[in-house]
């Protein structure tokens, strides 16, 4: 009896979490409006959308399952190279390439998931870092296939659905990336408000207790890890397709470190963290890069240090205050 009552309460609370908050609607309306508002900034907007998708993917494992990763660039690079090679040798259709990039990354995630299931946070950080570095070396040494240090060149993309051609202003590219981001976000939103993700949070908060209540921990973690990998692969594929170029840079350590910073700025564990972080990060980078292009790294480091030392609460407080301004009529029903 109590079991069914509990079940109903869980269902009810999940359903409530699935409802759209007005702030969320405002966020996506603003994203859609960015086409009209910033007609000259499509290139950076496209970068933001891709980075946001990448951050979303890290948030899925870090924010919801508590798996730390210093090598998420492995999946970004995997997606980028497979989408790039796919376009070069199989077909130039973007959607097929996107699907292929996601599939290979998911497969890589599934194959490497046993690596992150063991050991402490520290071992995980090391192993994920190691996997990304290994892939970097592999991509570097397979230069007949990947172009090595010169990068993968000569990628041409066919129009999306056969009609929307990629233009040099990046308008189509941005529309494409934003649509992919939105669709994948909807799926992620559905997933994190599912019983599956409840069990993940249980694992994150207390593995022993989750195991005792019958959660098959390795399977759940492997599933979310592969999903996160697929998302990162999608980001990589978008990157390859919209820039029509892939270089070893996609596997670089700074990709993973930047990503961490993005999620730290935005906050992990509520999906929008990655998106907001990506916007803040790119504008910050853009602003700093205009007056000191060469030493951007110094400032990124300073931000990291200050954030961790105590700035994080300030920013998140500001975001929470902003969200709280919107009326919460729906929550009371």
């Amino acid at each position: 009896m109590s079991g069914t009552a509990l079940e109903q309460r869980v269902r009810h609370s999940l359903r409530r979490a699935r409802r759209w908050h007005p702030a969320e609607l405002a966020f996506w309306l603003f994203a859609a409006a960015s086409f009209v508002l910033f007609p000259t900034r499509f290139l950076i907007l496209n970068e933001i959308a891709i980075l946001a998708l990448f951050a979303l993917s890290l948030d899925l494992i870090l924010g919801y399952a508590g798996i730390v990763s210093l090598g998420h660039a492995a999946f970004l690079g995997m997606g980028a190279y497979s989408a790039g090679l796919f376009a070069k040798f199989v077909t130039a259709d973007p959607l097929a390439g996107l699907a292929f990039g996601m599939a290979t990354s998911a497969l890589l995630g599934l194959l490497t998931s046993p690596l992150v299931l063991r050991g402490t946070d520290l071992t995980r950080l090391m192993i994920t870092l190691g996997v990304a570095l290994i892939l970097y070396e592999v991509a570097n040494s397979l230069s007949w296939l990947t172009g090595g240090a010169d990068g993968l060149q000569g990628i041409t993309m066919a129009p999306i659905f056969g009609t929307f051609d990629f233009d040099i202003f990046g308008r189509t590219a941005y529309l494409y990336s934003l649509s992919v981001l939105f669709i994948l976000f909807l799926i992620a939103r559905r997933i994190v408000n599912s019983p599956f993700c409840l069990s993940l949070r249980g694992i994150r908060d207390n593995q022993l207790r989750a195991a005792a209540s019958g959660v098959p921990i390795p399977w759940r973690l492997a599933a979310i890890y592969a999903l996160s990998a697929a998302y990162a692969g999608a980001a990589g594929a978008l990157l390859a397709q919209t820039t029509q170029f892939v270089s070893l840079d996609v596997f670089d350590f700074h990709r993973s470190a930047d990503l961490m910073l993005v999620l730290i700025i935005g906050g992990a564990g509520y999906l929008y963290g990655g998106l907001i972080g990506a916007i803040a990060f790119k504008f910050l980078q853009d602003a700093i890069a205009t007056f000191t292009p060469q030493y951007w790294m110094f400032w990124i480091g300073l931000f990291l240090v200050l954030f961790v030392l105590g700035g994080r609460e300030l920013i998140h407080g500001a975001i929470k205050a902003l969200v709280a301004r919107f009326p919460k009529r729906r929550a009371s029903s």
Partner: protein, 285 residues
């Protein structure tokens, strides 16, 4: 073949000196300090600057490298590291990566991005042959110094009052405080010692590893491998791990140059898979 082995051992020895400081901070104090390489770079640059600008001899600049890095260690420990002790590993990782980025870009800005070279004194140049094995004087010198350091450290942690106090403070800081052990000062000293050793290692390693502003990023992974693979409860663990890594890396680069750093990364992943707690570590409770 044996020459490669010898070179690998020398390389491993330098790695050990570079990384053993990290094994102290990371292992004993349980602080993930990815910025360790920045202290090593500091030591390296102090040596380069002293030799190039002031014309100091190589041997005299080595203690200076140690002191400069140790001093930087004390100051930073006081100012920014101490508030980080209680935070999560992830925060510590982000924090120290931030420091690395600042160090890399800052050094680039101050001293340029080019590779630095030093002029070794004549008696450290060249090599001699024993039974067909080529032995470089400098590498022999490095092995001598680092071997001596390893023995001293092992003795210091196992036998001296400082060592036993430190071990007590690490095992249970509260009880150690209750017994009147100045835990904070002990940790600060240990941190300084670790940073100083990194600085010394950086100075010794210029000839073998090169020195440019990306040094902390390039070798971060090596230090981490030494510490995680070697475990952290003893000095012998990191020592053996550094030897293994040094020999494997040098051999890989000589015998299969196209594989690059692939070998050591794979080695690390495999070793960590087999022994997540490190090769020689006791399990953490």
């Amino acid at each position: 073949m044996l020459t490669i082995l010898f070179d690998g051992i020398a390389y491993g020895m330098v790695l050990f000196v570079l990384a053993c400081g990290l094994s102290v901070t990371m292992g004993l104090m349980n602080f993930v300090n990815l910025a360790h390489g920045a202290f090593a770079m500091l030591g390296g640059y102090v040596t380069v600057l002293l030799m190039q600008r002031l014309g100091l001899p190589f041997l005299a600049s080595l203690p200076a490298a140690f002191l400069a890095a140790a001093l930087a260690g004390i100051v930073l420990e006081r100012l920014v590291y101490r508030p980080m002790y209680a935070k999560s590993h992830l925060d510590q990782v982000m924090f120290s990566i931030g420091l690395v980025f600042m160090a890399v870009a800052g050094t680039d800005w101050l001293l340029g991005s080019s590779q630095q070279i030093i002029q070794l004194p004549p008696w450290l140049q060249g090599r001699f042959y024993v039974f067909g094995v080529g032995i470089g004087y400098y590498r022999l010198f490095v092995i001598g110094i680092c071997g001596l350091l390893a023995v001293t450290l092992q003795w210091g942690f196992a036998k001296t009052r400082f060592g036993s106090r430190l071990r007590a403070a690490v095992d249970d800081a509260r009880v150690a405080r209750g017994l009147g052990i100045p835990v904070n000062r002990l940790f600060a000293l240990t941190f300084a010692l670790g940073s100083g050793l990194a600085g010394l290692g950086g100075a010794l390693g210029i000839e073998l590893m090169g020195l440019d502003p990306t040094f902390p990023l390039k070798f971060m992974i090596y230090f981490l491998i030494v510490v995680t693979v070697g475990g952290t409860s003893t000095i012998t663990g990191p020592f053996l791990a550094a030897m293994l890594l040094g020999v494997a890396d040098v051999m890989g680069k000589y015998l299969v140059p196209q594989a690059g750093a692939f070998i050591i990364y794979t080695l690390m992943v495999i070793l960590l898979l087999l022994r997540p707690e490190g090769l020689f570590a006791r399990a953490r409770t």
